[in-house]
Amino acid sequence: MRGLFLVLLTLGVMGLGFWAYQENYKTQAAIAEVRDLHRDIGAAHERLGILNAEWAYLNRPDRLADLADLNFDRLGLLPLMPESFGRVDQVIYPPAPLLPVTDPIALSSDNAAEAETGL
């Protein structure tokens, strides 16, 4: 009885040791993964920051004004002025598309030629 108990105890200790060992390594792996992810996030953030800065730099009002001046021939962009506002009724409606003919009306002259030759 005592021997069995000792054997079980030993096995239990070994099992617990094995479990602790595994958990430890799993934690280490998770921490390493988090570190890698943080590094990736950091790199992505840095990239995003640079892209945002570049976007802001390319869209700075001075440059946009210069570009609008340079391309005035093609685009004809002017600063927004009070005259630029219009009323809704000044906007022309797009021409309505023609509806398809669903019930054609038979005209008396439709088959006139055939009728004539048939006579």
Binding site: H38, H45, I50, A53, R60, L80, P82, S84
Partner: protein
Amino acid sequence: MIRTPLRPLATVLRARAAGENPDAIEAANKARRHAEMADRQRRRAEGRLLVLGLAFFVAFGVIGMRMATLASSVPEEPRAVVAGNPIIGQRADIVDRNGRILATNLATHSLYAHPRDMIDPARVARELVEIFPQMDEEELLADFTGDRRFLWIRRQISPEQMQAVHDIGSPGLLFGPREMRLYPNGPIAAHILGGASYGREGVSSAEVIGVAGVERHFDSSLRDPANEGAPLQLSLDLTVQAVTEQVLAGGMAIMNAKGASSVLMDIHTGEVIAMASLPDFDPNNRPRAPTTGDQSDSPLFNRAVQGVYELGSVFKIFTVAQAMELGLVNPDTMIDTQGPLTWGRFRIRDFRDHGPELSVTDVIVESSNIGTARIAMQIGAERQRDFLRNLGFLEPTQVEMVEAPTGRPLLPGNWSEISTMTISYGHGLSSSPLHLAAGYATLLNGGTLVRPTLLRQQGAARGPRVISEAVSARSRDMLRQVVTRGTASFAEVPGYAVGGKTGTADKPRTAGGGYYEDKVIATFASVFPAHDPRYVLIVTLDEPSEDSGAEPRRTAGWTAVPVAAEMIRRVGPLLGLRPQVDSPRRVGVTLTSN
């Protein structure tokens, strides 16, 4: 186990036959057995000792090895949890009200040198100067060949420069990562943003600290990692700010002014939509503060916040509004404007003679100093001071800039009767254009106090009431009439119903008392649209002179007003204000209570 008997029968019989004592056999056997037992026990004890010794040896060995590794390795915190994101530790961005970037960070490199590791300092110095033309070769060589061990060469370099330095190939030139503050819009909103520089510097990193403006005011919260890089949102509108600065620069050039400032403020929330001060600077390359001369001539000087000026006739509306609030006058009360008005040794004159009397409305429309001074005498010094205190004119503005406390209004030491009279038309009390914007916003938004702010607000927080709604509406009506038939006729922008007041104040002499004859501060304080106020715009020109006529014209009506009108024309549509050419509500018809 076969136990050897102590008295084996065969041996005993044999011993009996031989006549020996069989007990001797038993004793001998017993002794042998005891010796065997002793042997066994000794071996066991020895084995135990060995195991115990081994256990102790291993235990002490492990402890010793652990101590050795701990002693020889870099200390490291045991990590059980991973807290937060350690990456977003950099300084937060600053964005405008629509989320457009005003200030951000860029990862660059710094360049430093270890002169001891250099093989050919002369060549390194020569090639460095080719990359950085602003450096001095002689000086560099002296530094490299001297007894310095460490030397900063450049605080921040571009990737191209870094590659070029790499190509020099000297082991003594080293790079460190460096974060750089970038203002992508250049000089736009320079005074508000301020600028940044490096605090504590190390080879591997450097602290970016704000040196002026909102960068300095919000320095700790911008650097606080707990915010996780959440951007600071200002109330500015980048597009409106850019247009404002463009128009103001043009106006300043046309009007030959040496400086200019403008403040555009939301009349209900106190949000500063655009605030410009010219001349300006590029915060990416912030110039040093001048050590000699007048600080206010430096581009770093923010005229809109730090500059306190006697702003002139724009103050008249405060006097008239207070008199109406107190019930002393109504818009049609006739005021004696016969000049000059003599008070002790002082004489108050008007720009031109307005005849014997004018109605209160016309005192504002025609801008009569004498009329306003007479109204102020009815109000009295005490009540005037209290009213101006309520409007915030006696203290620096609370705007979120580190320079705000330096814009402290200059008040008369003794608020005498003559001070009351001069302050009523804007002389004898100096305040900043931002003060004026906040005062106009408070007066014209319906009468509730407005505090200027640079942070985006969610909805209008109504401040304590300063004047009644009816007086506010009547003041707006008067200001509208200044534009339609008074001194600010150039301010008429079709569709925007601009109302405003001009102010032309002689500049006080810097040395000694008195005023310059030919130097003025021209101000136009306006509100638009007058029937449904949304924005307050203040335009101030420093020493303008409009020279298209026979003689130079310096009054605000000829200088500040056209600039302000152009600004409203450009800015109004950008603010989403649709011009109302046929206003359904006639301007000038306002609610009155008596």
